[in-house]
Structures are given as C-alpha cells and as structure tokens.
Subunit: 213 residues, 2 copies
DNA sequence: TAGATTGTTAATCGATTAACAATC
DNA sequence: TAGATTGTTAATCGATTAACAATC
C-alpha cells in the first residue's frame, strides 16, 4: 500500500475501473490501452494514466495494460474479496435489498447479523440470517465486532445508532439513512443519499424541457 | 431559470442543501448565516455563498438566508413537487425498495407503472400498482410516456431496456443496473452504482487498518 | 528496428477559498 | 449608527489535460 496520499477524486473512480475491467475480462479481452479504456468509460487517456500511476507501474510502454492483472490489482486496492463481516442495522426495504444484492456477496462482503426493532422482521430469516432485536446489538457484537455496519434506519435514529456501533468498535459505516451521520477520526463512513441522484436527474430533466421551449 | 451554465459540482450539492434546510425548517429555525450552515454541512461559508449565488440573490446582507424561502427556491430548482410520472422497470429487491421509499413520494415522484419479466411479480400489486409484463412496455407507455423511468434490471438488459424507453419518448432515466447506460443527447441519465460507495468505504477501512500497524 | 503506448512533467483549466466593499 | 453578513472579485489550490521522452 502506498504512503503518498491518493486524492478522493481518484478513489471514487476506482470502482468504475474495476467494473469496466471486469466486464472486459469476462468478454475475454487480455489487454487495453488508456485510449481505448478512456473512450469506453468517458474519460481521457491522460486521466486514466494519471489515475493508475497513483498505485505504481501497472502498464507497459508500447503495449498498454494487462486487463486481468490491472483488475486484480484495483480489486486488491479496494479490498475486494477480503471476506468482510457485515452487520445490517434495519431490515426494511432498503436493508433487505442491500442484503440480497448479488454483487455484495460476490465482492466478499458477508452479512453475519441483522437487527431491527419491529416485530415482523425480528425473528424471521432474511438471506439466511435470523433478524435480532436491536436491544441485543451490544450483547451480540461487542466481543467480536464486525468489520462494517450497513445502517438502513430512519433518519431520526441514524446518528444514535452510529454512536452505538462506534462504541462497540465498528470502524466502517455504510449509511443509507436519509440523514448524514458524523463520525470521529479513525472511523470511515459513506453517507449514501439515495434520492440525491434522482434530484440531480430531475434538475437536468427540467433543463431539457426548458431548452425545448 | 438561469441561462449561465451552473457547474455539475454545484448541482450535486443542491440536494444536500435542500436536505439540511428542510431539517432546519422542521426544527423551527427561520434564518441562517452561510457560516453556520457551512459548519453544519462541512462546507466553507465562502462556498455556500458562491453556490447559492448561482441562482440569484437569495440572501440579505447583515441577516443571512431565510430558511423557508431558500429551501423552497432550491426545491423549485431541483424540480421537487412537480408530480412527475414515473415508470419502474424491474420489480426486484432494489426496484421495490425504491418504489416504497417514502421520500420518493414526498418529493413528488409518483410511480404509475411497474414492469417485470418474472411471473411472480407480474400480476401482483406493489405499492398499489399492478406489475405488468415487460412485453407491454411500448403498448402501455407510448401514447403518454412517463417523465422518468427507474431502471432496476440486471446489467445485461439495462442498455437495451434504456434504448426501448428512449424510443418510446422517455427523457430521464434513473439507472440502478450495475452497468452504466449510454444515452443520446437530449436524454438525462443518472447511473447509480450502489456498490461504488461500499468499495470506497472498504478502501478507507483498509487504510485505517494499515495506519494502525 | 519502427510503432505503439506508457510514465511523467508541464500547462491549463476549473473549483474552492480568501478578502473586502456593499448594504441590510 | 454600528455590527453583521452577504455578493462578488481576486487569489489559490487542486485536478485535468497536453506533451513528449522513455521504453517495450
């Protein structure tokens, strides 16, 4: 792993590289130039070379990039396939959708615990895991906290649930609650605001309609 | 609406402004300074003033911003509350989660059609809408195409479904399929890669663990 | 070898931050 | 009026793009 700080802009593009390279590999392609990859992904060749160079020398002059090698390396950088233990907090529609998302498991994220408050989900099994009452959170997880918590609770409860998870020792939270949570240094968080992209889409649709008139 | 082009970076921050301002308004606050809003949102006061100024003079010197007014204006810019007609393509876990997401309806997006291929969802009702077979897509939608399509299909089918939707006359696609779709000029798309933020989280978690050693 | 294409430095561009006059 | 805080211009910073020598 590298010591020089890689910018967040580059990191956010890595999953896209992984996705496109996986697809090319499935299609049987062995190598690709920055030019070609760029035109597929809608990036410039220059940017692709700059991005990849943040992680060492992965290409070869006069040849390009070896697709399986580059894909594997980016997968490693992203921590794919590490069999991360995951706890799902909130088994509503979104929580269930995430738990059953196939890509989730394929990339090495394994749901080990599911918690909720409501009686209907509690006691049932989702994706093979028995849903437990949220009261048992500390009791169940403290001894051996999972690597990642997926937080899919209502907005009002998100921050206090996050605080409890952090107190238990969880250091990464993937938050789907419609309110950003704040975490201390040493804890990673990604606040996913599902509707944000819908609103951006709505903005652009309005712009398109305006252009017509 | 403004003629000067507003940068995509600004547009992507608008939903966040809307969310924070709504919360402040619900809490009964009447006004806020760029300083205070910035510290809550993790932005600089300067950036907030620059962003808001893209849309005209919305603040008042010596006073700050009127929260309900600013919220309403940003809502308008984002097209919130326009009663947009939506078709959902793919009624799997993610499609259903989106259809039943409460914020979705609150912001004025109304699901009018749901399509799928599999027999179990087809014929059933989800969120009060009967799921129809995807074969009926053109027949049902051509005469009066919905404003927005939510595409929640497998990766392999995403592009061809998008092409069909565009042929019908749909001009905005919110794509959850795990493959980016490409659209012609005059059509808006937001490709949502749900797992991208999980991979970014995973990257940061690895960095944190590395820092410990 | 010649052609292709990277790695890397330099130039450009755009976004963010700072500063301050305008004004409520 | 004095204090507060915006609107807006200028300065800075960082990210993207261009260029080209290195090299496979």
């Amino acid at each position: 792993m590298e010591r020089e700080r890689v910018s967040e802009a580059v990191i956010r593009r890595l999953p896209g590289y992984y996705r496109y390279l996986s697809q090319l590999e499935r299609g049987g392609m062995k190598r690709i130039s920055s030019q070609e990859l760029g035109s597929r992904m809608g990036l410039t060749a220059s940017q692709i070379r700059q991005d990849i160079n943040c992680f060492g020398t992965l290409g070869q002059q006069g040849y390009g990039y070896n697709i399986p090698e580059l894909r594997a390396r980016i997968g490693e950088i992203l921590g794919i396939g590490q069999d991360r233990r995951v706890a799902l907090i909130g088994a509503g529609n979104i929580g269930q959708a995430v738990a059953q998302y196939p890509g989730f498991l394929n990339m090495g994220f394994r749901i080990r615990y599911i918690f909720d408050v409501e009686k209907p989900p509690v006691g049932e099994k989702i994706a093979g895991i028995r849903v437990q009452h949220i009261n048992l959170l500390e009791e169940e997880l403290s001894a051996n906290p999972p690597d990642i918590a997926v937080l899919a609770s209502p907005a009002e409860k998100a921050q206090s649930l996050a605080d409890r998870l952090i107190a238990i020792g969880i250091r990464a939270i993937w938050n789907f609650a419609p309110m950003d949570i704040v975490v201390p240094d040493g804890v990673a968080v990604q606040n996913v605001q599902l509707t944000d992209s819908l609103l951006v889409l709505s903005y652009h649709l309005n712009k398109l309609e305006y252009r017509d008139e």
